[in-house]
Structure formats: structure tokens, C-alpha cells
Symmetry: C2
Subunit: 654 residues, 2 copies
């Protein structure tokens, strides 16, 4: 415990240590401290291998291109003057050899000739002469010498990022070698007692995490044209880590990144190691996630302490490393395309910190709708699912639902138009649908947001989703969904297509050790239940069954513990956090759990026909296909009698 | 000559052969003919090497992440219930060990604990207990099991282009291998008797061209994630070429490109070879440049006949190959960002053909101004200089100057704001300026367009340039530029900064074989002159000196032959096309020619102070610097007494 008291003492010092600065200031501090010309040298490489590299000096043409006046067309070279009298019906005749000569495109113009007649324009063409009825003006169909490139002239300036076209220009200008800035090299040192080396293909036990940040950095670095090396993970040991950092700094890399350990905890050594070997320039940026980033300089090299959480690490790379790598390599920093999006949900934010919030974005009618993704710094999947990111300024408490915010795109803008926004209840069938839609010739990406059936209806009403997963059961009518459309979407023409009849039941541990067999068992004190969130159709179903059984929510141990998806409920059961939850068969089956059937229900996708677009059409067509039904049946726990049919009010399960 | 008659006969057949189709139709024909699944297989590769590859199947998570409930903060794990009574001033005390346990971020939550108190929130912290005054709610500061990834769930759908983030997700989900589509492979066969292999570092003689298209394609292919192989150039020999194509098709490549020979000339064998080995699908597209492109299929592989001219070849790649490579590799085809630009010059176009016109684009005030670049299919430098491209539709005769057109951007939009548009007279100093501007921390790119001094003034008037190079001499006042501002830009506040006093003179062959020493010599019949275009300051200077000498333009042999730059004039002299031209010393010097001084003149950059922006400021600052003066002096033929000074009316050369 005394180690912990030491931590506590360190904590008191933390506010002194972690003095956060705005990102722009952090970048200036690093640029001021680094000697760019000393760090990144010049080298000469073959021109044809220089694509993506940056010129270190102005490049002047060695050869002209063309090096000669040449024919720009297949035809006859001639003296333009000799054709001036030609008119329709009054041809001029030129003798082959003396007065004209055949040339193919690219051929040099014979001495004394200054024009080319296109071969089609010779009205007669014999072995001895040609005749033409249209005059040729001087230099017509002639590519002049140096028309493209003049020897000695500036071809490309310094600090030019060489494109494939530029490489073509270099070669055409007779330039075989080109002076460029060295390619940047980065070494990444993964750290932490808890991290597992992915190269060993480990099976993580509780408390262990598979190290993946290095490979995210590898990909991001490659996109910046930076060579990347990862060393073996180093445990949380100050000496071992110091050795690793010293080795990396003494190696050929211009930039060294220490993965994790950049905060101010008891095992966060990055700061003290950088201080011992060189200088800490920045510890902490005014941005969340990514706040505990470190910039330092050791032996003239840039050293970066990257946070361990994947989202924080990516922010550290994108906000700090990309501008610095661009600056070091003399490239223009990439700028993300900006679009205005309408928020499907509120983004709350704390005053006093700029926040980056990732967004799932898709086109719904005329507008782009953005769903804020979870903001946990450990949520790697938010990186996968995001099409954009928005900044909540330091002086803002966030943004309201339905308000417009500016989003920076992480994908090409065209992808947003191919994204089908589905909001509402979650079912694994949506994953099957999403996967199948990606198999189309014109693929459709699903951006789905799991907010329960009622949330889906709200999204339809607000035109913030094209389709909504819904399985709302109405006790009075015994019907699904339509009574809720009438009540919550009055006056709107809502259609719905059935995805499947699915089986809901109690998900219990393998072998059902507590012998749970009916809803009444949820009242037993030893049964720990895990519930779904308010507004979820599954929760409405639970409440109905509890009422039928005469059980109040207070009698259910864990009624107030909520998860947002069937799978999350099942995971709680798998790990023993809960002994039971209500969910679909597919979730229980996927994790090898037992399933006590409780009800059959209709899982539909609702949509507004007037607002349907090509993506809706494509999805409906796919849902109607035989192969889609087959895939659902393979999941188990579903019936496909209604799958793909447009439902009618009062239809229930029939 | 009889070979030529054969060509003539072939020409008659050409209209049958070269039946052009719209690009979209060409793509459909290729996609219909190719068996994509048969051509591009599936393979399994290590997940950490999969960035940029495309999933061939849905990928489901193997591990959950986190695999356990874990602390999201450094602090104490505890039972939330035990803290509910805590209030400010009424602390709850928890014994270490039994009631709470220290945890660092990422640690698993001990059995029975369901919340974490941040270490800062412990108001007392001894070796035996902690005290807190704020309650902890259940799961507070806890990362739940499966919060990020749930084992068995869909992680990524099929046909997903894997990002660096995705690779992180794969590894975190315990996925070590991933099924992806094979990486595309392309073989390029350069052809032509006239092409020189750049790997031999040749010196081109007249009639010869350095083969560079293969390396442009290599760079463009790499950007599409396609592996690229170039074979040695093959001469214009049908047998040799057939052998090369057969070998390439029998090799591992999915796509084979024949460079040049795709048209219908006497040495264009691509079509007949593809016909002999397989099938021609398309010969000719309804697009200029790029028209003589061929698409075919041989042994199930895509075979492309690319035109030989560099711009046509690039259009063939960008319009045909990129969509087909995207389709074959299951990627979304890249879409260029669109912007509206104002044309600085008219674009004439023929009815009946869609035309692609490359544009130099830069921001001038509120608008983006685009200068159409030369449309010669051989003008590789237009590829280098273009920031965008516009399409003139098949039914259009072009676009007027000052009209708006839609441009597809070839560079990031942000680059347009860094581009300084300079229109007007050309001088090599502009190249020096352009190169120096690229050396700044915030680099500025010059987009310069050489239309003569008068053209520059017009551009200033139309706000289609930020600065204009001008050296207009007024006979009456003996002053430069200002008399022209008053006459042609009345009412506008025009400023100008001097770049240099430059020496204009007669550029003659080395050793001055014709003994040209004064303007009167231009009237000698054996002297062939090369002139500058109308509106060029140099031409105005010539006319002044001719008048002074009493010589009429008719007396000057070659007065009507025009070039647009000093360098082009000098090249004419170098190659003997002309014996003399009026131009600047720098041009003569660069090509080792002799120079007969005729006049000193002021070369200024004119601008409108009210419309100056940061780029103007940065350029002015650079022009004032001592190092800039030094660089100009090194060129020779310039005086820098006035360089960087803002000129006054009536100042002349003093």
C-alpha cells in the first residue's frame, strides 16, 4: 500500500507536471526546438523512384521536349507557303520527295518543312504526288521544339511533393537523379506490463490487452510517407524503457514514439525518461481525447509520448504527429474536407476543454445526418465506424440534437451518399444486412446506431434515419409496430418490411445452473438480472411479461442495470456479472449460452416511402432475396415466413 | 512510298475500326466481359499487414475488448452501494483491502467491486483506509467487458478497404489473419522504335523520345494499391510485340498495358495483337485527349492499349483504368472534389467530342481563378502544372472567359489558397521567385501564365490575377508601366514593385556567325527573325526600335513567327530555326547563345493594393530580401538597384 501513497504524493505534483497547452502552441514549441535541416538530410535518388518524395532543391530541365520540331499527326510534311493557294475545287499538287514527305506522328519535320497536312486531308494520294484543297498554315500540326519542356528552365521548385506526373516530367526532361529530402523514419516502442505482443498470437486473460496501437501508427505513418519500425514491447520498468528509448534515439529514426505511459500515473515513465535523456517540450494538450500526449527532444530527434488508449493515441498522431511529420518532410499538411451535418443526438461537453467527437455520417434526403459515437478513449470501434469528427470548442457546453455542426471528413465525401443510416433497435440481422449490402456492385455501407425501437421512430420522425429497426409489441391489439407509428408518428405514412420473426427469451449460463425456466424466476433473490435500456422493445416486452406474471420491477434484482445491445446482455451472463437477461437466441447462441424461449416477435425495418431513396430500394431488394433468408435461418432463433414482406396494420405474426 | 499507300488504305478502314464509345459504355463492356471472381482471387494475410487491402469476407471478433471489467481511471475499486451515503462534510470511510482496492487504469476490477473512485476524489488516503465525500454510482469509471468489441460479433463487413484503425480493431479482436482480395498486379509494355529506355540514361537525338509513361503509370497504379511491373521497351515489330503481350498475359498480372500503338496508324499494332490473342472490347472512347484507348480481354485478363502521348495516356489511366482497378479490387472509385472556378481565358471546343481541359487554379480574393493550360496531348508539363481539370461536354462549343465552370480538383483544395496567380509577361525571375516561395515555412505556389504584359494588365482588371509581370515602355514619357496603367486600368489604384532592371537584346547563335550587331541588321534578307506574340512588352520594345531605325515590319523576315516566352525564342535560335530573336540575357545565357544588348528596361510586378492578400505580402517581403537580389544577380543580365522597391510614376529607370 505504501507504493500507493507514493502515487498519491505524485498526484499532488501532477498539476505542476501536466501543464496542458493548446495544440497550436505545442506544435510551435516542437518546431522551434527542432533543427529541421540538421535532423532531416538531403539525398539523391533515381528520378523514377521519386514519386511521393519531396524535392530538396529546384530541378532544371536537362533536355528539351520535344528535342525537335515534330509531326503532331500522321500525314505529309510540307512547306506551308506552297499550300496557300489551295481552295475547294482548286487543288494544289505537291510532288512526293521534293515538295512533301510522309510523316507519322512524332517524326521529326524534314529540313525546310514547316507544316503537316493530315493524311485524311490529301484529296489525292498517288505514289508520286498528293493534292490538297485546304491550305496548311505555318507550324500547323507541328509540335515545336521545346513546346513542352525547354532545357535549363525550372521544371520543379524545391519542396515539391513529386506526383506520378512529375516523375514523367523529370524523365522526359532527361533528369535521372533528383535531390530529395530523406524519407522520415519512425520507431515505435510499445510499453506496458499488461500488453500482449500480437506477433505471438496471444489469448488475452483478464487484465491483459493486445497491443495494437503500433500497427495503427504504422498505417498512419505509411500514409504520410514515413518508414516505420516497431520494437518489441517493453515492460513497465524505467531502466528497460530508458534503454529502449536510448537505442531508438541512437538508431536511424528521426522520430521516436513511446506507446502508452504518457500520463502521470505510478507506471507512467515516458516523461521522466525523456527528461533524463533530453528535454520535455510539452506534457499535455488542451484536447480530449489525446490530452496526456508528450512532445520532447532527445539528441536532436523528436520524441513523442503517445497515450495508451487507442482513440487518444490516434488523436495524438493526427493532431500532433501529422503536422510535425509534414513540417519535417516539407509537405503541405493534409486538410480534411469539411461538411455541415445535422446531429441525430445531443453532444454534451464540459466547458474548459476542446473535445473531438467522432461521428457516423450518412445522407438522409437532402441532409447529412451525424450520430455522435461513444467517446470512451478506449473505444477503438468508434475509429472504425466514424466517417467524420467534430470539434466542440473549449468554451462550449456541447451541441443540441438537430443542430448543425461542422464535421471534418475521415472518408471521401462520396462515401456518405452510399451510407444507409439505420437507427433503432439492434438485431444481428442488421449485421448480416450490412455485410450483404457491401457485396453489391454498388456497395452500400450501413451506419447503424442502437438506441432502441422508440429511438428509431423518433429518428424517422426527425428524418435523421432512412430506416429504423423496430419490434414494438402492443398489448391491446396484439399487433406490432403500427399502433406505435399511429401514436408517435401521427400523420406520417410509415411503411415497414419484416426482417424476421425472432425468438426472445431468457439468456442464462451454459447448463442453466440456476434452473431459470420462466419469467417468475426473475423475482428469485439469487437471480441477478441484466436489463436493456428504456425505450428498447425488449424492455417493453419484459415489462409486459412481468405484468402478466404479476411481478413488480422492484422485485427483479438488477432491473436498473442496463445494457444497449443483446450481445452486451449476453456478455454479462457469460462472465457471470449477471445470471440472466432477456434477449434474442442469436446472442445466446453466439456466446454458447443457454436460452429459455419466452416469446416470438416481429422484427421490422420501418421507413417513410416518400423519403425512400436508392439505398432504401437496394436494401429492400436484398431483404427479399432468397439468399438473405438463408443467411438469417443459419443464425438460428429466427423464422423467415414474413421476411421481405411489406407489413400491414393488424397483421401481428401472421 | 508504297508502304504509305498501304497506310492510306488502312486509313479508309479506320472509321470501321475506331468506333468510339462513351467512357461509361466502355467501362460496362469491360465489366461485362471480365469474370472478376475468376480473375482476382482471395488470400489470407496477417492482419497487421492488411492496411490498404480489402476484406474478401465478413470478419467476426474472436476476443472481446476489454475481456474484463476494468478501471477506466487510476483510483480505488469499490462497491458502489457502500458509497451512497457519502456527502460533503459527511465522508464515508472504506477499509483498504476488504472494502476498496487500489487500481490503475486498465486493471481488472476485483471480484464483487462495481465502481471506481478517482484517486483525486479520496479526501483522506492513509495506509489503512480512504474517505470519500461523493458517492460512486454503479459502473462509474469502469470500462465494461465487451464495451468496445464483443466476441463473435461482426467487426468488419466484406469488401471493406482496411484503414489503419481497422487493423487496430482486428488485432484487438484477436484476429491474426484476415481474408482479403489479392492485390492487383499490372504489367506495362513500353513500345515504339522511337522510345529510349530511361534506365539507360540516354541522350535523345531528333526523332527520339524518352519513355516516361511507364513511370507515370507506376505511380498512378501504386496510388491504387496495384503492384506494377515494367518490361523492357519493345520495338514497333508485330511479332516481338505479340510475344511480349503473350508473356505478360501468361504471367501473374491481372492487367496488361501496352504503352503506345493504340491508334490506327501504320505502326499501331496493339489492336491487331489483342484481336489475334483475344478480343477487343473497345477501340476508341468519346473523349479528348485519350480517344485512341483500347480495352480488350486476353486469357481472362484485362488488356489495355494506352495512347502514347503522355496526356492521353494519363486520361486513359484515370478515366478507364482507375474505375476498372477499383472494380476489380472491390474498392470505391476515388471521386475528385468539385469546385466552381472562373475562367481567366476562353476555352474553345469542337462540338461532338467531350474534352478534358487541365486548369491552373488559384485563389484571387473571393474567387477561384482557373487558367486553361495547353491542350496538346504531348504536353506533359500541363499535367505537372494543373490543379484541376474541367470537362467540356460533347454538345458544347466551349466556355467563355470570365464564365464559371465546374472543376475536378487534382490537388487538395487547401493548396488553391496557397497558390499565387501571376499572369502577364514572362521572366526567369518568376521561376526564382516561385522556387524561393516554396522554401517558406508556409510555402506559396506560383501559378504563372505567360500572356504578355498587356494580358497581365487585363487579368488585374478582371481580378483574375493577384500580380502581373509587366515591362511596358512608353515612348512619350520614357516611363515604364504607369502610363499603361492610366490608359488601360483607369480609376484603379495600381501599385508595382520592381523585380529587376533587365537587359533586352538580340539573341544570336554562339559566335554570332551572321555578325548581327544592331536592330538594322534585322532587315538583312539572310537574317531569319523569331518574334514574340502581340501584347508582349518585348514585341512593343521591338516595334519601338524598328521605328527608331526606320524599318517596317515587312522588312523583317520572320516578323510574323511568334513564340510566347524568351526561352522559346532562344530555343529557336539554338536549333537554327531562326537566326535571331529579341529577348533577355538570361535566356541566351541559359542556352549558351550570344547576346547583343539593345536596351535596359524595368521588369515590375503590378498589383492592386486593395486586393492584396497574405500571398502578395509574402511575395513582396521575399522580393525585398537580400538573398533574392543575390539570386537574380547570379542569373546575369539583370541589375538590382531597384529590386523590391515600390515604383512611382515617372521614375523610369532611376
Amino acid at each position: 500500500m505504501s507504493g500507493y501513497s507514493n502515487l498519491r504524493k505524485k498526484m499532488k505534483k501532477r498539476n505542476i507536471y501536466l501543464k496542458t497547452v493548446p495544440v497550436a502552441e505545442a506544435l510551435c514549441l516542437a518546431m522551434d526546438a527542432l533543427d529541421r535541416d540538421g535532423l532531416v538530410g538531403m539525398e539523391t535518388i533515381p528520378a523514377h523512384q521519386a514519386c511521393g518524395r519531396v524535392t530538396a532543391q529546384a530541378v532544371h530541365a536537362v533536355c528539351s521536349s520535344p528535342t525537335f520540331h515534330s509531326a503532331a499527326m500522321d500525314g505529309y510534311a510540307l512547306k506551308a507557303e506552297s499550300t496557300f493557294a489551295a481552295r475547294e475545287g482548286r487543288p494544289v499538287r505537291l510532288a512526293k520527295g521534293s515538295q512533301c514527305a510522309p510523316v507519322n506522328t512524332g517524326h521529326p519535320l524534314p529540313e525546310g518543312m514547316d507544316g503537316v497536312l493530315m493524311i485524311e486531308k490529301a484529296v489525292r494520294d498517288t505514289d508520286d504526288f498528293i493534292e490538297l484543297e485546304t491550305p496548311v498554315f505555318p507550324m500547323q500540326h507541328v509540335r515545336r521544339i521545346g513546346e513542352d519542356i525547354v532545357a535549363t528552365e525550372l521544371l520543379l521548385p524545391q519542396n515539391r511533393l513529386l506526383s506520378p506526373y512529375d516523375v514523367g516530367g523529370l524523365l522526359s526532361a532527361g533528369i535521372w537523379d533528383v535531390p530529395v529530402w530523406e524519407q522520415l523514419r519512425m520507431t515505435f516502442i510499445p510499453t506496458g506490463d499488461e500488453v500482449l505482443d500480437f506477433t505471438t498470437r496471444p489469448s488475452p486473460r483478464p487484465g491483459q490487452v493486445i497491443e495494437s496501437n503500433s500497427q495503427v501508427f504504422a498505417g498512419l505513418a505509411a500514409a504520410q510517407g514515413c518508414l516505420f519500425t516497431r520494437v518489441d514491447p517493453v515492460p513497465d520498468n524505467e531502466d528497460a524503457l530508458t534503454t529502449a528509448v536510448r537505442e531508438a534515439v541512437n538508431g536511424p529514426s528521426h522520430v521516436v514514439v513511446i506507446g502508452a505511459g504518457s500520463s502521470a500515473g505510478s507506471k507512467d515513465f515516458s516523461r521522466s525518461i525523456i527528461e533524463s535523456l533530453g528535454q520535455v517540450l510539452v506534457h499535455g494538450i488542451d484536447l480530449m481525447p489525446g490530452k496526456p500526449s508528450i512532445l520532447g527532444i532527445v539528441g536532436g530527434k523528436l520524441i513523442v509520448g503517445a497515450p495508451g488508449y487507442p482513440v487518444s493515441a490516434v488523436v495524438c498522431f493526427e493532431e500532433l504527429l501529422i503536422p510535425l511529420l509534414s513540417w519535417l518532410s516539407r509537405k503541405t499538411p493534409p486538410v480534411r474536407q469539411l461538411v455541415d451535418v445535422e446531429l441525430a443526438r445531443k453532444i454534451p461537453s464540459k466547458l474548459g476543454t476542446e473535445e473531438l467527437v467522432r461521428l457516423a455520417i450518412g445522407r438522409v434526403g437532402e441532409k447529412l445526418v451525424a450520430t455522435p459515437l461513444g467517446r470512451g478513449a478506449g473505444m477503438l470501434t468508434t475509429l472504425i465506424r466514424a466517417q467524420g469528427v467534430t470539434r466542440i470548442p473549449v468554451d462550449s457546453e456541447g451541441a443540441e440534437a438537430a443542430s448543425k455542426v461542422r464535421a471534418e471528413l475521415l472518408v471521401p465525401a462520396a462515401e456518405l451518399d452510399q451510407t444507409l443510416v439505420v437507427v433503432g433497435s439492434h438485431d444481428n440481422i442488421l449485421d448480416v444486412l450490412g455485410n450483404e449490402l457491401m457485396g453489391l456492385t454498388r456497395p452500400v455501407r450501413i451506419a447503424s446506431s442502437h438506441v432502441g425501437s422508440m429511438g428509431g421512430l423518433t429518428a424517422l420522425k426527425n428524418r435523421s434515419a432512412l430506416m429504423a429497426g423496430t419490434h414494438l409489441f402492443d398489448e391491446l391489439s396484439g399487433d406490432f409496430n403500427f399502433p406505435f407509428f399511429r401514436k408517435y408518428l401521427p400523420g406520417l405514412n410509415v411503411a415497414c418490411v419484416n426482417l424476421a420473426i425472432r425468438h426472445q427469451g431468457l439468456i442464462v449460463a451454459k447448463g442453466n445452473p440456476l434452473g431459470i425456466s420462466k419469467v417468475e424466476d426473475l423475482a428469485r433473490p439469487e437471480v441477478r438480472f441484466i436489463n436493456r435500456q428504456r425505450g428498447a422493445g425488449t424492455r417493453i416486452l419484459l415489462d409486459y411479461h412481468l405484468r402478466q406474471a404479476g411481478i413488480s420491477s422492484e422485485q427483479v434484482n438488477g432491473y436498473d442495470k442496463e445494457e444497449f445491445t443483446h450481445m452486451a446482455v449476453a456478455v454479462n451472463v457469460l462472465t457471470g456479472t449477471a445470471s440472466c437477461g432477456l434477449g434474442i437466441f442469436a446472442a445466446a447462441n453466439a456466446l454458447g449460452l443457454d436460452f429459455v424461449p419466452l416469446a416470438r416477435e416481429r422484427y421490422d425495418l420501418a421507413f417513410l416511402p416518400e423519403h425512400a431513396d436508392w439505398k432504401t430500394e437496394v436494401a429492400l431488394e436484398l431483404i427479399r432475396s432468397a439468399s438473405f433468408k438463408e443467411r438469417i435461418e443459419k443464425l438460428g432463433g429466427y423464422e423467415t415466413a414474413l421476411t421481405g414482406r411489406i407489413m400491414e396494420p393488424g397483421q401481428g405474426l401472421g
